[in-house]
């Protein structure tokens, strides 16, 4: 993603994107992975907010992300509207090893749906997927599915803890995915540490931005059928309904 070797001039447009989520879920690490393809263990907490830019090359156009990486601490919450106002996309991040962070993420989603610009594309991202030792969370999902039907995300996870004693994962994929589907959010599980799915999130967002909301020159080919054109996306991202965030499909993590 980080390559910017544009050979032929493609139409480019900028997209304002904001990252929200509880402290220490890995927002800055995701951005650092996306922008610098780098990862820092034990990164210090973000202070205030950081503004970064990165280009994302799609086959038919270039999207320049203007990213607001916000601090997750409570005391900065009152400043958040300043960052998500006018944003075309939001990454709401939680930590798959910390159920309360999903609850916080849900609060952010609700706030965005209430206050942010109506067309905003929201992606729910479960980070720290590298800490989940199971390569196929599907097995756990079976047992969690029953709980998920009745309780809120964070409570049911506590119950599932025993099922996964050797596993740091506390939020089953299915729970979060179910919630994302309900709210028509893009959904990914990522690892900023390994880089897993990070570029995919941003590509999916770039594809999901309705063309009408893009500033600058219009893209030529629109954004349909883009998901399949990227080899690494084929297995995980299937953006058949890119025009409409509601129709966007979530990546099956891992």
């Amino acid at each position: 993603m980080a390559d910017s070797g544009a050979t032929a001039p493609k139409p480019s447009s900028s997209v304002k994107l904001v990252l929200l989520g509880e402290a220490a879920v890995g927002k800055s690490s995701l951005v650092m992975r996306f922008v610098n393809n780098d990862f820092q263990e034990n990164k210090e907490p973000t202070i205030g907010a950081a503004f970064l830019t990165q280009k994302c090359n799609l086959p038919t156009r270039t999207i320049k992300f203007e990213i607001w990486d916000t601090a997750g601490q409570e005391r900065f919450a009152s400043l958040a509207p300043m960052y998500y106002r006018n944003a075309q996309a939001a990454l709401v991040v939680y930590d798959i090893t910390k159920p309360t962070s999903l609850t916080k993420a849900q609060h952010w989603v609700a706030e965005l749906q209430r206050q942010a610009s109506p067309g905003i594309v929201i992606a729910l991202v479960g980070n720290k997927a590298d800490l989940a030792s199971d390569d196929s969370p599907v097995t756990n999902d079976e047992s969690d599915a029953d709980a998920a039907g009745t309780t809120e995300g964070d409570e049911e996870v506590a119950e599932s803890e025993e099922n996964e004693n050797a596993n740091a994962r506390k939020v089953p994929t299915k729970t979060a995915k179910g919630y994302a589907d309900e709210e028509s959010l893009l959904f990914f599980e990522t690892s900023a540490k390994t880089g897993q799915n990070v570029a995919e999130v941003f590509t999916a967002i770039a594809n999901a931005i309705p063309e009408t909301s893009l500033k600058g020159p219009r893209g030529v080919g629109g954004n349909t059928n883009l998901g399949g054109s990227r080899p690494e996306d084929t297995s995980r991202v299937n953006l058949t309904g890119g025009q409409d965030p509601a129709g966007a499909k979530e990546g099956c993590a891992c």
């Binding site: 402290a23 922008v35 210090e44 907490p45 202070i47 205030g48 907010a49 830019t53 990486d69 005391r75």
Partner: protein, 643 residues
């Protein structure tokens, strides 16, 4: 003591100083009875005043600088053999005594205690009887007589044969003292402790099996900072988690509130060689616990800085509101994420920071005309919402733009520098940062908004830091800091920064900054060729700025740096002691000779090897003052860009 100086030179030195400031005669005659000569042996004097006279008549002292040996040894816990010291001391030839001497001498320097003893000393206060203390004092006074003969071993060989450790440390000590380049004696125990000072503690295992071991690690730390609410809730501790320190917090809280009830707040106390200093600020109690022999006022100013960091996060009114609504408020939650900032400040103090010691800032040395161009560029590109604009290179101020009626508070700048250069989060994040913060020195009731962008001073073009993947050469970075009261002005300030950087690149200022960073601080011998000085600090009182030479080549390790700073701390404490009439303070030791000199315009502290004469040191100090006067507009920012 190499006295190369002629008496002419001495007089000349004397004259030149007196002509500058008649109030500050520098002693140039090297006699003992000069008033200005204050040896560092105050504790000895104190004791002999307070207690019964020493049971042993003091031996004739060899040289005035031998006093060093007696300095500050009183707080050192005594070995088991202590009760016998009195009789043995008269011969001073038993190894037990000699060993005690050399070891406690080392301890005296660093105010450090060995592992085992430090635990004892923390667990129960040791009662120090006066006679014990006097023993030590009198022994110390003639320890150096052993050192006259170069071969200590032949004198003591028979006695010491089977006690090699003592012998080794003793001969090591005298060997070192003859090397000119060693400013600080070897001190393995302090080195060991300092090496692990910044390590984090091992986690306490769930079964508590290793709790004692962890507690031991905790107690070995040379310095602790703790912050608690006046209701006794822990807010911050540099070392150890809640579970480990909760009952210590409880003890501290009990002690503090006992005195608060008596409406006579506790300011500090000493337990063994450990100094506790307490700063009560409204709903907060801040505690510093130090074994680094810092003075109360120095520790208090460190606590003030931590308090300012907290205000900088919360603002005073909002913190007070929290506590008036709920006195048992847990402040850790609103402060979440700033532990790294507080710890970075605290570790800066433990490592030793000339900036905090002097409450002053260091500037990048630049030609006057170059700085003028930068100032003008700042004024030209200034955007309407700008309050303060700063250009900072590798932790040193390059230029400032500010409104006429608001100067910058050094404490505020220290907080900003700490955030940007010590705690890595802003720099490591890459890109540009927008930080709401309160600058308590400016106004502790509201927030300002700070735009920060790091440039990399690598080539004249100064590519932006966000363009590169790693953050390897963090020392070489230039930060553009733009502060506004308007929280919506990020993009306006970003525009200003873009204009500023392109202008600075165009008028070659960036390359001037770049080469100034590259050349670094001059060494002492660059400043005054052939000077015996190893290091100095010069603070301009009027500008609230200081300048110093490079630590290299003589002060190479972190440890030596810490000990140099400790020496500066001692010097600073003695010329700032109140009530004071002291203007010049010589500190003469075996390994180094140092000088503190205060006038109404400046403070100067300098250090030379122990072989330097006082006359030579005095001359060197005068040369430094001359140099600073000549270079004043380069090493300091006079005024800055004002609008």
């Amino acid at each position: 003591m190499a006295t190369e100086q002629t008496s002419d030179a001495a007089q000349e030195a004397h004259k030149s100083i007196t002509s500058e400031d008649p109030n500050s005669p520098l002693p140039t005659d090297g006699t003992d009875d000069n008033d200005a000569l204050q040896s560092t042996s105050e504790p000895v004097l104190d004791v002999s005043r307070e207690n019964t006279p020493p049971p042993l008549p003091p031996r004739p002292r060899q040289r005035p600088d031998d006093i060093q040996h007696g300095s500050k040894t009183l707080a050192v816990p005594v070995r088991g053999a202590r009760p016998h010291l009195q009789s043995k001391a008269t011969t001073a030839l038993s190894l037990q005594d000699v060993h005690t001497q050399s070891e406690s001498r080392r301890n005296s320097y660093s105010a450090h205690v060995s592992r085992k003893r430090s635990i004892i000393s923390l667990r129960k206060g040791r009662s120090r009887s006066g006679s014990e203390v006097d023993d030590v004092a009198s022994i110390k006074s003639y320890a150096p007589t052993l050192g006259v003969g170069a071969d200590v071993e032949s004198i003591l060989g028979e006695v010491l044969k089977n006690q090699e450790t003592g012998l080794r440390s003793l001969s090591e000590h005298f060997a070192l003292s003859q090397q000119q380049d060693v400013l600080f004696p070897a001190d393995p125990e302090f080195e060991e402790a300092y090496l692990h000072e910044f390590d984090s503690l091992t986690d306490v295992e769930s079964d508590n099996m290793n709790e004692d071991a962890v507690l031991q690690q905790w107690k070995l730390k040379l310095k602790h900072f703790m912050i608690l609410s006046s209701a006794g809730k822990p807010i911050y501790s540099r070392h150890g988690d809640d579970r480990l320190i909760s009952h210590y917090i409880g003890v501290i809280q009990t002690i503090i509130s006992f005195y608060q009830d008596a409406e006579d707040g506790l300011r500090g106390f000493t337990a063994n060689d450990t100094r506790f200093v307490i700063l009560s600020k409204g709903p907060l109690n801040l505690v510093a616990i130090s074994r680094l022999s810092e003075s109360d006022s120095q520790l208090r100013s460190q606590l003030e800085a931590l308090y300012m960091q907290i205000l900088s996060t919360l603002t005073l009114p909002s913190m007070e509101r929290m506590f008036s609504n709920r006195p048992s408020t847990d402040l850790r939650r609103p402060l979440e994420g700033t532990e790294t900032l507080i710890s970075a400040l605290a570790d800066g103090f433990t490592r030793g920071s000339p900036s905090t010691l002097l409450s002053a800032l260091e500037c990048l040395k630049l030609r006057k005309s170059h700085r003028q161009v930068i100032n003008n560029t700042l004024l030209k590109t200034r955007s309407p919402n700008l309050l303060y604009g700063l250009i900072v290179a590798s932790g040193k101020l390059v230029s400032v733009v500010r409104p006429k009626k608001h100067s910058l508070h050094p404490g505020d700048l220290h907080l900003i520098f700490n955030m940007l250069f010590e705690a890595g989060s802003v720099r490591a994040g890459g890109g540009e940062t927008w930080v709401p913060l309160c600058l308590p020195g400016f106004n502790n009731t509201g927030y300002l908004y700070m735009y920060v962008s790091f440039l990399r001073a690598e080539d004249d073009k100064l590519e932006e830091i966000s363009e590169r993947p790693d953050i390897s050469s963090e020392q070489d970075e230039v930060a553009i800091i733009l502060i506004s009261a308007n929280k919506e002005s990020f993009f306006e300030l970003k525009q200003m920064r873009d204009d500023l950087v392109s202008q600075l690149a165009k008028n070659r200022s960036l390359s001037h900054i770049n080469s100034a960073i590259k050349s670094g601080r001059p060494s002492c011998t660059d400043i005054v060729p052939g000077t015996p000085l190893r290091h100095f600090l010069y603070k301009s009182r009027g500008n609230v700025q200081f300048t110093m030479p490079s630590f290299a080549p003589h002060i190479s390790s972190d440890l030596d740096r810490r000990r140099l700073i400790s020496l500066y701390h001692d010097l600073s404490a003695s010329i700032h002691a109140k009530p004071t009439t002291l203007k010049v303070h010589h500190n003469v030791g075996v390994h180094c000779i140092s000088l503190a000199w205060a006038t109404s315009f400046f403070e100067l502290y300098c250090v030379a090897p122990g072989t330097t004469s006082r006359i030579a040191l005095t001359q060197a100090a005068n040369k430094i003052v001359e140099w600073v006067r000549r270079e004043e507009e380069r090493v300091f920012i006079i005024g800055g860009a004002v609008f």
